[in-house]
């Protein structure tokens, strides 16, 4: 789905944000990109989305990407439905306007995420979690093959984190959507991802299955504090999470 | 009796001594009174139009004029251009374009680079012509005066726009140039003419006073002379009513306002070189105006100076306008009077062609009632 070969990026003559990254993100899977702030996660995401061009290396993205930003930048208080509708922009010509089909696609996307009741509310009046779901719905409405999310659950409280992660998991299950998201919380990766890419900065990275890469050693190297994998039983299943040793 | 023999030569010597003493005494007295006279002589003293006291040791021999109309006033008082050593560039073009350029061709050699844009003086150029006195505008602030006074020049300032101020120019110029009699004669002429016209128009009822509109600009915009302008003054003097009375000073109006005023007579200034009565006649918006229907659009004459602003020739303008506004009311012969006055003011005998040119006969003869100004 996404194939990178010796990918690297830097601004002008500055230091390399990341370099020599080669990986293959599988189709239909959920991949988490892990790393502390400032190691290039968002930059890599922008390369995948085609917003910036890599300085060196080769990047092949097979399919249409749908971008879900962390929050909305626009100063206008659009209705939530109008925000989701804008996801159809890719399919609407320069001078054209959303048709009934576009409206249906937007409605379907919202229904799939169970937020249809939010349609008429101004977007900026929604809770952070609802907003994130609406932005996911927008990306869905564009009928993308690959959902790319920038820190989707990072600024949310537990309940909203759960909502968003569950929605992503369900989407991937039900529709075979490929999902790539960045996060600085390894438990997000453990909850829903199958593969993980750990960015240590410079030319250092690890890529592989979540089990193989999200290890205590890797996490400690990544976050420079001790982190322990934990698991416990809940409702008859094994729940995995991580605990950082903060103090 | 040898004493008598001795007193005869003594008496003669005494007489000689007394005579010498008398001569010496006379000489001393004469010398003293001359000195006294010299010390008591005030030279030239006057107040400029900002109330400043200006003193010159004697009438000026070298004068620079910055206000544009002042050069023409100067020439009117002096009757020649020798003592004018610098003037505004636009004064020169005004002179060379008009009759004064023909009467005084040497005026073209007078330096006119003495002013920058906006009446700011070029002090070094002015110093180079060594003037005794410089005339400058009073209403532009100190920045256009101080650079000259700082350089040691004597500066007298003028205000502009009314008959009183205009007579002030004439009077001051007369004092400065040592020609007070000529100045007085001009002023007396102004006052006499004004009195005659005021008397004539005193009993005229309002409905017999045509509406007169003066355009300061008619091509690039419609700028009219409202209440408080010199044009307003002489429109009243000529027995008319200023159509633009409801605005003050010079204001821009739109075409509809002009139609609403419906002037009977329209005057265009010579200042806007390209304007012609046809510009008003051909404007379809003005088709219904009384002045257009009756072909009473005139361009104001251009004599020693333009006749529309105040000048030494203003009484000619008043007479011209009265004859335009009320044809037949004045029996005076304007052409004859122009000849007489130009002889007095400029020492020049106007030819018929020159009079035609001043009165803009070429442009104005197609308008109503202008044949009264044609040569006999």
């Amino acid at each position: 789905m996404i194939e990178a070969e010796k990918l690297g990026f830097r601004y002008g003559g500055a230091d390399w944000i990341f370099r020599d990254h080669s990986f293959r993100l599988p189709r239909g899977a959920i991949t988490a990109i892990l790393g502390p702030n400032g190691r290039g996660k968002t930059t890599l995401l922008k390369c995948i989305l085609g917003l910036i061009r890599p300085t060196e290396g080769r990047l092949v993205v097979d399919g249409v990407t749908g971008y879900v930003p962390q929050n909305l930048q626009s100063p206008f208080p659009y209705k939530t439905f109008d925000i989701v509708l804008m996801g159809r922009a890719r399919h609407i010509g320069f001078f054209r306007h959303p048709t009934r089909a576009d409206h249906d696609a937007a409605r379907d996307a919202m229904a799939r995420l169970s937020i249809l009741d939010l349609a008429d509310r101004p977007f900026d009046r929604l809770s952070a979690g609802q907003q994130q779901l609406a932005l996911i719905a927008r990306a869905l409405a564009s009928r993308c093959d690959l959902l790319v999310l920038d820190e989707p659950a990072s600024a949310l409280d537990f309940r909203n984190q759960a909502k968003v992660l569950q929605a992503l998991a369900r989407l991937s299950d039900e529709t075979g959507l490929t999902v790539v998201f960045t996060t600085h919380a390894p438990q997000h990766a453990l909850s829903i991802a199958q593969s993980a890419l750990l960015m240590f900065g410079g030319s250092t990275y690890r890529h592989g299955s979540v089990d193989a890469t999200v290890t205590d050693e890797n996490l400690e190297a990544l976050y420079e504090i001790p982190v322990r994998n934990l698991s416990f039983q809940h409702d008859g299943r094994n729940v995995r999470t991580v605990a950082p040793v903060l103090v | 009796m040898s004493m008598r023999k001795r007193s005869k030569p003594g008496l003669k010597r005494l007489r000689q001594t007394v005579a010498t003493a008398r001569i010496a005494a006379c000489a001393i007295v004469a010398a003293t009174s001359l000195c006294a006279a010299a010390m008591a002589d005030p030279g030239v003293q006057f107040k400029d139009q900002q109330g400043r006291d200006i003193t010159l040791k004697k009438p000026a021999e070298r004068v620079v004029t910055i206000p544009i109309p002042a050069a023409s006033t100067f020439i009117a008082i002096d009757g020649k251009t020798d003592r004018l050593v610098g003037m505004h560039e636009r004064s020169k073009t005004a002179i060379m374009d008009g009759i004064l350029g023909k009467i005084f061709p040497k005026a073209k050699d007078i330096p006119s680079d003495i002013v920058g844009k906006g009446f700011a003086p070029n002090v070094e150029a002015i110093l180079a012509v060594r003037p005794d006195l410089v005339f400058q505008w009073a209403n532009l602030g100190d920045e256009v005066v101080k650079p000259m006074t700082n350089a040691g020049l004597t500066v007298a300032t003028f205000n502009y726009g009314t008959e009183e101020l205009s007579q002030g120019w004439i009077s001051i110029m007369g004092t400065v140039l040592g020609r007070p009699e000529k100045a007085k004669a001009l002023i007396d002429w102004h006052n006499a003419e004004r009195a005659v016209l005021e008397k004539k128009m005193a009993g005229l009822p309002k409905n017999k006073k045509p509406r007169v509109l003066f355009f300061l600009r008619v091509l690039s915009e419609l700028r009219v002379a409202g209440d408080g302008t010199y044009n307003d003054f002489y429109i009243g003097l000529a027995g008319g009513r200023n159509a633009a009375k409801e605005v003050t000073k010079f204001k821009v109006v739109n075409a509809e306002q002009v139609v609403a005023w419906n002037p009977d007579v329209i005057l265009l200034t010579a200042h806007e070189h390209k304007s012609r009565p046809e510009d008003v006649y051909n404007n379809p918006v003005f088709a219904g105006l009384s002045a257009v229907k009756n072909k009473r659009v005139y361009k104001v004459p251009l004599g020693g100076y333009r006749w529309d602003p105040p000048s030494q020739e203003s009484p000619l303008m008043w007479k011209w306008l009265t004859k335009v506004v009320h044809p037949g009311m004045l029996k005076d012969d304007l052409r004859a009077e122009m000849v007489e006055k130009y002889r007095f003011i400029y020492g020049h005998d106007l030819t018929d062609d020159e009079i035609d040119s001043i009165l803009l006969l070429g442009i104005n003869k197609a308008q109503a009632n202008y044949s009264q100004f044609a040569r006999k």
Binding site: Q73, F76 | K251, N254, E256, P284, G288
Partner: protein, 353 residues
């Protein structure tokens, strides 16, 4: 199913009819204002005569008005009213577009240097040539030149970030303002200079049908193009990265919109000099009524802008005998209106924290 999820562009029944009625009503208000404006002016003409004159063009009727009446209505008021409406709608649409594209409420056509460039072009045309086509041609040419300069100045690494665009606009405006001052300096003070100064201050007083014939097509065409782009402007208003992520070519779309804004602004400047504050204030007024969705905002701005500038011009030409420059009035009215708007709505129509 709520009204927001219905397709606003499709003709339907029942719940959609009131919306069309609203738009129709707004257009009717504009038409009524225009018709009324034909009846007001310094020269008194009764309404019967005004409409008699208008009707006489469709149906021959007996003349019961004077020549002056007819000339005033047909040659002074009619082109002036049309120009005011055209300029008002054009500038409002341009302003709404710029505010959406730049995601900034303080943006109007002056910001990106277009007004100054067009003003310089017009002043140059007055100085060197005569006639409205020269003014229009040079105004558009230099409006585009100003925009090209802004584009070149604000380009970083292949993109034009909004902040750089605004800053470059300020610099380019200052540059052309200096050039205009130079023109005023060299212009002949007897005829060219007053013409330039008068024109720069803004006025519809010189409106004629010849002028309208020249400036109406570019204004109408560019406005219609922006109207057709209104959904895309929604997407652009999300921000460059999001819009790109949604599959929109941001640079191309933005520059096309700016091009249309330039044509409109330059055309209005060519016809009437600098008329400010309309593109800034009217979109805010419209946003208060219809909200931020540009599919509604663009046409709403057009209608509000037409009425707004028409009413202001009516006041300008009737209030006093002398003609007050339009730019002065739009600023005197626009600034306090803007202040009141901001206070009343406390910035709603825009998100606030």
């Amino acid at each position: 199913m709520s009204a927001a999820t219905e397709t606003p562009d499709r003709i339907g029944a029942g719940a959609r009819l009131p919306r069309y009625a609203l738009w129709g009503g707004a257009v009717a208000v504009l038409a009524v204002c225009a018709a009324y404006s034909l009846g007001v002016g310094r020269y008194p003409i009764s309404f019967e005569r005004v409409y008699g004159i208008l009707v006489s063009h469709l149906v021959p009727i007996d003349t019961f008005w004077s020549v002056s009446d007819q000339r005033v209505v047909e040659l002074i008021r009619a082109p002036r009213v049309l120009l005011a409406v055209l300029a008002g709608t054009g500038l409002a649409v341009a302003g709404a577009t710029l505010q959406g594209v730049f995601r900034n409420p303080l943006v109007g056509p002056q910001i990106i240097g277009v007004s100054s460039g067009a003003a310089f072009g017009g002043a140059l045309a007055i100085l060197l040539f005569s006639g409205t086509s020269a003014i229009l041609g040079l105004a558009v040419a230099f409006g585009l030149a100003a925009i090209a300069l802004v584009y070149w100045m604000s380009r970083i690494a292949g993109r034009n970030p909004v902040l750089m665009l605004v800053l470059s606009g300020v610099v380019v405006s200052a540059f052309f303002a200096a050039l205009i001052a130079l023109i005023k300096y060299v212009a002949d003070p007897d005829d060219k200079l007053p013409a330039i100064v008068f024109w720069l201050m803004g006025s519809f007083a010189t409106a004629t049908f010849e002028k309208l014939a020249l400036v109406a097509p570019p204004i109408v065409v560019a406005s219609l193009l922006l109207f057709a782009m209104r959904f895309r402007i929604n997407v652009l208003s999300l921000g460059d990265e999001e819009a790109e992520g949604l599959g929109v070519r941001v640079e191309a779309s933005r520059w096309f919109a700016i091009l249309c804004v330039t044509v409109i602004t330059a055309s209005v400047v060519a016809a009437a000099g600098i008329v400010g504050w309309v593109g800034l204030v009217v979109p805010h007024l419209a946003r208060m009524v219809v909200g931020p969705d540009h599919r509604l905002l663009i046409p709403a701005s057009a209608l509000v802008g037409g009425v707004y500038l028409l009413v202001i011009d009516d006041v300008a030409r009737v209030a006093t005998a002398s003609e007050i420059p339009l730019g002065v009035i739009t600023a005197l009215i626009g600034a306090p209106v803007f202040a009141i708007l901001l206070r009343k709505t406390q910035g709603s129509g825009w998100k606030h924290d």
